[in-house]
């Protein structure tokens, strides 16, 4: 019967206070670990998806909405922009590449995005089966979509209008699966990619009514633009695309040739054109600072819970010791040294906090798993990687510090115990 086993037996012999301490510790540690993990996953996902995109151009509206819809595909689009206007921007000497995106339709809740072959290249996506789309109404499907909807090469499906399930079905045009992407751990896994022309064709009947409105806007924009001498460089080649003037896309992902682009272009687009430019890096940091308030509140609550759990461990040990004064004196008469008994008390405190910490980490992973499932279901986003984080070492250190601190006073009392008096008083 070693001191270590005696610690364990002492803990199990007072199940109620041990359970209370454990529950509080588990709650505190679990909440903090979960927050850390969720925060990391969201940041990772956000940063992973924004890679290689310096600026997003779309219809006027909320810049954050534009970023969320065009980069992360989790919000509704702000509207459409004229293709020729986007192309004019694409031809600017500061722009390295511009990827057109047309979206608004979905299949079983997964977005169908009309684009060109540069888009999968952006996420270094490789095709595991089949090939990239070559003609309108051919689609290449993201890994998660293919997996969850059980899509295979040669399958046909019709898209629905709108981004949620149950929209109006475009049943005159069926898409055909010609390829499936490998996992990229980016938003691409959740998308169905096709040629921009497919989206135009599917929406042909709607465009007719839209055209008048958009051309009115165009002419308005031109009048204003004429005052700006630099505006001319957008206009080259406009004449040749006369019939494409009606063509629209939803957004364009722009990569700059040099940092100069970041300085000049976003402002110029916002001021001189009918389009809106949003910088993902800026909008995302704004989003995080908004979210940060909530995260801070939750971490404060979790810290308070941890402090209370420390108090509970202290009370539990202190009370147990009061009941066990005589036991301690008895053990001293049988040859236990002061330090052995101090070790016994410290061990109980540390064992308790260590057990609470382990349970807390377990709960955080369970919570992460649940949240991941929830995100998967409602945003088609999932977390990957459950690994240990550097911050969790700090969490472990603070949990152990709490255990040590809580058992310090009881340990000092044990060290100073007056054997004779304790035995005589019993």
């Amino acid at each position: 019967m070693s001191i270590f086993r005696l610690s364990l037996r002492n803990m199990t012999s007072r199940p109620l206070s041990t359970t209370l301490s454990l529950v509080l510790l588990t709650l505190g540690v679990g909440m903090i670990a979960l927050l850390l993990q969720v925060n990391r996953h969201i940041q990772q996902q956000m940063e992973n998806n924004v890679r290689g995109i310096d600026m997003v151009v779309g219809a006027k509206g909320s810049p954050l909405q534009l970023i969320l819809s065009a980069v992360y595909h989790i919000d509704a689009p702000t509207g459409n922009i004229a293709l020729h206007e986007a192309e004019r921007l694409q031809n600017n000497r500061l722009v390295a590449s511009g990827i057109p995106l047309s979206y608004g339709d979905s299949y079983q809740g997964y977005r169908i995005v009309g684009t060109d072959h540069q888009y999968p290249k952006l996420y270094v996506a490789t095709v595991v089966e089949g090939q990239l789309w070559q003609a309108p109404f051919e689609v290449t499907v993201g890994a998660t979509v293919a997996n969850l909807l059980n899509l295979k090469i040669g399958d046909n499906f019709v898209g629905a209008h709108g981004l949620t399930e149950g929209g109006e079905v475009h049943d005159e045009h069926a898409y055909q699966v010609v390829g499936i992407f490998d996992y990229t751990n980016s938003v691409l896994d959740q998308l169905i990619l096709t040629a921009t022309e497919s989206v135009w064709a599917a929406h042909h009947h709607e465009e007719e009514s839209d055209t008048t409105a958009s051309t009115e806007n165009e002419s308005h924009a031109h009048e204003e633009g004429e005052k700006d001498p630099e505006h001319h460089e957008y206009e080259e080649g406009e004449e040749h695309h006369e019939h494409e003037e009606a063509r629209e896309i939803t957004a364009m992902l722009v990569k700059f040739r040099s940092p100069m682009g970041m300085v000049q272009l976003p402002r110029r687009v916002n001021e001189d054109t009918n389009m809106q430019a949003a910088v993902p890096a800026y909008e995302i940091s704004r989003l995080f600072s908004l979210m940060g308030v909530g995260v801070d509140t939750l971490s404060t609550i979790a810290l308070v819970i941890m402090a209370v759990s420390g108090l509970s461990v202290f009370i539990s040990l202190f009370n147990a010791l009061k009941d066990r004064q005589y036991e301690m004196a008895l053990m001293r008469t049988y040859g236990a040294s002061r330090w052995q008994l101090v070790g016994l008390v410290l061990q109980e405190g540390l064992l308790l906090t260590l057990a609470g910490f382990s349970l807390g980490i377990l709960v955080s992973r369970l919570g992460l798993w649940l949240i991941s499932g929830l995100m998967e279901a409602s945003y088609h986003y999932s977390f990957s990687g459950w690994g240990w984080m550097a911050e969790e070492w700090w969490l472990l250190a603070s949990a152990l510090a709490i255990g040590l601190l809580a058992s310090l006073i009881p340990a000092i009392r044990v060290f100073r115990i007056n054997i004779s008096k304790t035995l005589a008083d019993a």
């Binding site: 019967m1 005696l6 066990r324 036991e327 008469t333 049988y334 236990a336 330090w339 054997i419 004779s420």
Partner: protein, 208 residues
């Protein structure tokens, strides 16, 4: 070979005790009788090294126990002195067998299950091995307390009022068992009590 020389102890200026010298040879037992408040427990704690005397010495097997350091004394007490108290106390979380194993471990001796069984059988509670001590009857508890005192084969067994809470039958039995255990482990036994019933069982008595 147990001796005390001019032991004295004072709790404060009003309450101070001077104790007569005691000298015991191997195999000798002693019954110390005294009324309440005369310092019986103080004497026992002095002899066990639980209290530091104001003056005087306690010698067991050639060792002056009050000259040892605190941790040396703990160790010495654990392996050479067995204590039995008025009311038996145990480590609540552990069974009887585990309590005895703990006492062996604390005295830095290997846990010896057959020794535990032997001692408990000798005291007639061998069948209570895995019982929690506080669930035993009073008489059984006092016998279990004797088991704790003798498990490490000490040279000196000190008992403080071991029989005062027991009825006549159990009191006699406990006194006899203590003598038996002292005899088999070749220990010297000192019982300090106000219990006059024990007088008949001891030839060597000292009245404070």
């Amino acid at each position: 070979m147990f001796k005390t020389y001019s032991l004295s102890f004072a709790y404060n200026q009003q309450v101070s005790f001077h104790f007569p010298d005691i000298e015991l040879d191997a195999g000798e037992n002693l019954l110390i009788l005294g009324e309440s408040g005369i310092g019986k427990t103080t004497l026992l704690h002095l002899m066990a090294g639980l209290l530091q005397p104001q003056s005087g010495r306690v010698e067991l097997m050639g060792t002056l126990i009050h000259e040892l350091s605190s941790s040396q004394l703990d160790r010495f007490r654990g392996s050479h002195i067995g204590l039995v108290f008025q009311r038996p106390h145990f480590v609540r979380a552990l069974s009887l067998q585990e309590n005895l194993a703990l006492v062996q471990h604390l005295a830095r001796k290997p846990v010896d299950k057959s020794r535990i069984k032997e001692v408990l059988d000798g005291l007639g509670i061998g069948h209570k091995l895995s019982e929690k001590p506080h669930r035993l009857s009073q008489g059984e508890q006092q016998r279990a307390a004797i088991a704790l005192a003798v498990i490490n084969r000490p040279q000196l067994i000190l008992a403080d009022e071991p029989t005062s809470s027991l009825d006549d039958k159990n009191a006699n039995r406990v006194a006899r068992l203590l003598q038996e255990q002292a005899f088999t482990t070749e220990a010297q036994l000192i019982i300090i009590t106000h219990d006059q019933r024990l007088k008949t069982q001891f030839s060597n008595t000292l009245t404070l």
